[in-house]
Structures are given as C-alpha cells and as structure tokens.
Symmetry: C2
Subunit: 297 residues, 2 copies
C-alpha cells in the first residue's frame, strides 16, 4: 500500500458544502484506472478546511467507492485532541491507513512535533504515513526527527517534500533518509514535478496531486520509473512541464481544482473560500495546455 | 476602544478542556485594574485550537466578567464559512468588536486575503480589527493591502506586527501606514518588546500579550507613553528585558502560560497539545526573572 502511485483527489464543494456525488465520481474514476492507493483528505483534498462531519462523510464515501483500492485518510488538525477524534472517525470509516501532518498555528518545537506523533500512534490501530509538507505546515523536519518518528509503532511511510534536481544528489538524498529509518518504512516523494526524479532516485511511492485528478499520466510515470524505464518516466514528466509551470505559478491545489471543474467532474467554485479558483485568463491558458497535452478526459 | 491597552488573556485548559472558572478569574483580574479593552481569543487566547462551542463559551464568559471594559473577540478560522459563524457567535455573546487574522493552510493571494475581509465585513454589525500576524498566518501584508482593507465597512483598527528599533524609522513607519488608511482607523502595535517604541512612534494602541497576564507593567508603559512620558515608558520596557528575552527564546505564548500557572491562575498544562509548556529548567529561570522584577502577583 505504501508503494507505487497514491492518488490525492480533491474533496469538491458545491455551494460551499461537501459535494458527495462529485466526490464519489472522482473516487470511482481513480479506482477504475488502478491507482495503487487513494489518499482521501490530503492537502489537495482540503482536509484543513472541512469540519469533522464533512471529513467523516468524505472518508466513508472514499472507502465505499474505492473498491479494492486501499484508502488512506488525512487526520491532521491543529490540536492533538482533534487528531485523535479524526483518527477514530477514519478507522471507523474503514481507512487502511492514516496520513498525519504536524499542522501549526503557533510554531512547534521538534519535541512537540515528536510528541504529537507519539500521542497519535499510541492510540492507533492502522498504519500511519508521516506527512512532511513544509509549505503548508511551516515545520522543517530534520533527518534526526524522521529517525525518531519512524521508529514509533504504526509508522509505515514518510511523504517527503521533494528531491534535489541533480540525479546523483537525489539518489544520495533518498539513501541518506534510508539510513535514518527502519527498512520497513517506505519513502514517498511529493511535489509532482519532482516525482519521476524521486522514483528513479529510489523512492518507493509517489504521493501525487495530479494522480488524483489526471491519473493516466501519473500512472505512466510511476509504472515506467518503477520498472526501470527511467527515460520513459522522465520523458512523460518533461512532456507535462507546461502543467508543472502552472502549478508553480498558481499552486497545484488551484490548478487541479480548475481541471476537475473544466472536465465537469465538479461544480464551479469547488474550493473552500477564502481560497478562490483561477481567474478567467489563467483558466483559458490551462485549457489550452490540457488540449495541447491531450489531457482532456 | 481602539486606543490604549488591549489585554490578550490566555484561554486556559484543564485536562484538555476549556477551564471556564480560571478564564473568568483572568478576565475579572484584567477588568479590575482598568485595561482599556480585553481581546478574548487572540493568538495568546488559543483561538485556533478551540472548537466552536469552546469559543462561544469563552466569548460569553469574557463579556459577562469584563464589566464596563469592552471585549473584542477573535473570529479567525481557515474557512470563510467558519469565520461567518464565529462572527455571529461573538456578536450574540455581546462582543464590542471582532479581531480577524487571515489564517492560512494553503498560502493565500492578496486578492484572496482582501476577499476574506470583504466577505466578513459585509455581514458584520460591530467594528473589526485587522490582525496582521505574519508569524502565525504566514501572510505578508503590504501597505497597498492595508489600504484596500482599511476602507471596508466596520474596519476600525489595524494590529501591526511591530515597528523598527530606531525611533525615527519607527515614527516614519507609523506615519507611512497612516497615509494609506482613513483617519478613523487606528494603528495598534504588537510584539511586546516593541510596544513602548511603537506607542512613542505614534501608535494609538498596544495589542498586548503581557497585558493579558501581568497588566500592571503593561498599563504603566501605556499610560506613560500616551501621556508624553517617553522616558518613563522606555525605562519600564527596558526593565522588563529579561522577560522579553524569554519571550524571544520560547515564544510569548508558552511563557505567559507558565506565568499564569505559576501564579495559580490556571491549572498546570493549560495549553492545548501538541503545544507543550516550558520545561522544568525554563520554568525555574522564569520564576527567578519574575521574582527579580517583582512581578509576583
């Protein structure tokens, strides 16, 4: 479950409320093409904007519609007591694993981050993915902190924020991480433009934003990289560069929301305000890119 | 209401739940010494860690126990829909004003920050303080953004994150902000070690962490600075430097929590996990500082 392509779908809203029908459709679409896992309620899945009941319903829908594909559920929240409740809800919904980022308002010390993972894993019955996402949490993990968290019970994988651009440095970075964590804990890359490089450098999994929206090209990259066809994986990633450029400019969160809206998989304004969708000109450019790359369905 | 000393008390927990009795005591203590306003549920008041019901109860308690002192209530949340509900709760509780920070998980564009303030002020019946707190929100306000938000209905004050250390530069900074906002909007300084300098530089108010915990010295600085006794204000701020040093090292949030615990005004472990209180050695140093500065009651 902690290898290959894990697809992170949106949790679309309609009129500012959870759109269960659209969400069910997104999950079924991912299951149908055979992604290796689905991570519901990741950052792309708007977890931090949804209330407990919306998150409970989304977790349940994801598990019900994913068929045989395992579902991981994001349980991050600012307060440990809330994380405990969300972990319980996710497990009751049938999640195969949970994903936890150390979300912050007040900056946390490394001891406090470790304490969060200690408290949560002590109460858990399913595996846990450590979610290192400095752009949203503003927590800077060190390898020392990886090492201390990775030996806690239930920890199965670490989602790292990316790898260096240069192939040798990327391989060295993944190898260094592996010296700090047990062999049983996998390493998954995130940052979609770095995914091909990350898998080639030795990552076991790709925790993928685009995989939740356009699983076809994400599967192509993953299958090529993990079967040794490095040139094929890199070529597909290079082909998608116009998309990565839009991700860099507007954030993958807003761009993939505009993609599902454009494809008719979600209502317009599917993001939670204050986050706003792309403006008209950015949308026009996105549609042009999707057509040029033949990513239209 | 948007001038002088606004005191930001903690919202203490006991066994990880809102401690209404301790909170009532903190509010009565502030009202008794005559602070100019009390801001409930600011960053020091743990607003982002509390659920809607805890926040509703805290707002109600603050208004009931503050007597004639006006109470402002923090209404920040990640999703605009949540902010609307919290604004309604605060107003129903009798808040004289609300305080709004643009809290982020996904980074917000300036247009999205403006959109949040537009959406919220459009539904509001009481004045609003704009809460610029880049350390916790990771939003960088520009003067242009101040200008656009300050002309929205109900906007009464801006809480700025500090002023330059050099007096002329500090005065220039406050003057520059004033050129961007209507005369009716006050400017309040935060960052307690900068408060004396900020008030002397022309700020109308001090939105104060220490004022919520040890209102005596905060009132002394405020009254001196605003009555023209600049030397007196600076001397008191310099006297408190050992405290500012602890704030810089551990965060004012953790240090002031340890102070109310030490003074018996809150139970031990009054902060919401994963945030942890000061460790034993930091507490011992704090107690020594409090005794040396005669801040023991």
């Amino acid at each position: 479950m902690f290898t290959g392509l894990s697809a992170f779908p949106h949790t679309p809203l309609r009129d500012d409320a959870f759109d269960e029908a659209a969400y069910a459709g997104l999950i079924e679409r991912l299951a149908a093409v055979g992604v290796d896992s689905i991570t519901a309620l990741g950052s792309t899945g708007s977890y931090m904007y949804l209330d407990r009941e919306e998150r409970r319903r989304a977790a349940k829908t994801a598990v019900q519609r994913a068929g045989a594909v395992p579902v991981m559920v994001g349980i991050g929240a600012l307060r440990t007591a809330q994380v405990h409740r969300l972990a319980e809800d996710a497990q009751n919904a049938g999640a195969s694993a949970v994903l936890l980022a150390p979300v912050t308002y007040q900056a946390l010390t490394p001891e406090e981050v470790l304490g969060l993972f200690e408290d949560v894993t002590a109460e858990l019955s399913v595996p846990l993915v450590v979610y290192d996402n400095p752009r949203t949490t503003h927590v800077q993990f060190t390898d020392e902190l990886y090492a201390r968290i990775a030996t806690l019970p239930h920890v199965a994988s670490i989602k790292i924020p990316g790898v260096p651009a240069e192939p040798d440095l990327a391989a060295e970075r993944v190898a260094t991480i592996r010296t700090h964590i047990p062999d049983t804990v996998t390493v998954g890359v995130s940052g979609d433009d770095a995914a091909a490089r990350g898998l080639i450098a030795g990552c076991d999994a790709w925790y993928s934003v685009i995989g939740g929206t356009l699983p076809g090209p994400a599967l192509k990259i993953t299958r090529a990289a993990l079967s040794g066809d490095h040139a094929g994986a890199l070529a597909e990633s290079v082909r998608l560069e116009p998309l990565w450029a839009l991700f860099a400019e507007h954030g993958s969160y807003r761009v993939t929301a505009a993609i599902i809206e454009h494809l008719g998989l979600a209502a317009t304004d599917c993001l939670p305000r204050p986050v706003q969708g792309l403006d008209r000109s950015a949308r026009a450019l996105l549609v042009q890119v999707l057509e040029e790359l033949e990513l239209t369905g």
